[in-house]
Amino acid sequence: MIDLIILISLLALGFGFGQYRENQHYKSIIKRESALRNIPAIASRHLPTEFTPCTTQLVCGNVVISIDFFKQFVSGLRTLVGGRVSSYETLIDRARREALLRMKEQAATHGASHVLNIKMETSSISKGQRNSIGSVEVLAYGTAIISEG
């Protein structure tokens, strides 16, 4: 009985806080994305000729985001029937956008006009561990182009 109460209160805490924090995070992501829209991130490997002369700088941004207890529980249930695990989809989406934003913020401090050759890397940092923490790390990196003159 006690176990059930603990489980339910953890689920409620996870649902309440998790949902609140996710909404806050999305709000801040959307706000910062529109502020940094003047620095386009381009996946092209080659430098367009109109940018030269310029200097380059390697920039990267990383973030580790953890899932909340409620979503972890729900995704556990989802694995019984299969299908889309939407609770993890939003987690990864937030992590990717946040990592890109941090990279762009770093580029902005160098006064860059574009960021080229974006690469993204995702890894789960506590894989294969019992009682593992459901968290994901995303690293985004690229080359910032700083125009001269």
Binding site: G14, F17, R45, S66, I125, S126, G128
Partner: protein
């Protein structure tokens, strides 16, 4: 030392290719941080301690790669890639590699 993940540096020509250089570091997180992360796991959200730890380790991997490049007389590293792998419980390896070149 110029670091980039493009294949060339605009406005400069490569005079000599010096081959692959790499740097890696294996880091474990300490228990205190792990307990805090366990708490965060109920509420969700960013694990700042881990973000910081991984960033520091990646910087170390880069500095090792730069050291190696300097020792063979390179002045730039092109086409840099990062990679992460978890080798054992609670430890992860951060690896970075690139092509060392001499630019004029």
């Amino acid at each position: 030392m110029i670091l980039t993940n493009l294949e060339s540096i605009p406005g400069k020509t490569i005079t000599q290719h010096l081959g692959l250089v790499q740097g890696s570091t294996v880091r474990a997180k300490h228990a205190g941080r792990d307990i805090m992360a366990g708490l965060k796991n109920i509420f969700g959200g960013e694990l700042e301690a881990y973000t910081e730890l991984l960033q520091e380790s990646r910087e170390e991997a880069i500095s090792r790669m730069v050291e190696q490049a300097q020792s063979i007389g390179a002045n730039a590293i092109l086409n840099i890639r990062f990679s992460t792998s978890s080798i054992t419980q609670g430890a992860s390896e951060l690896f970075t590699y690139g092509t060392a070149v001499k630019l004029n």
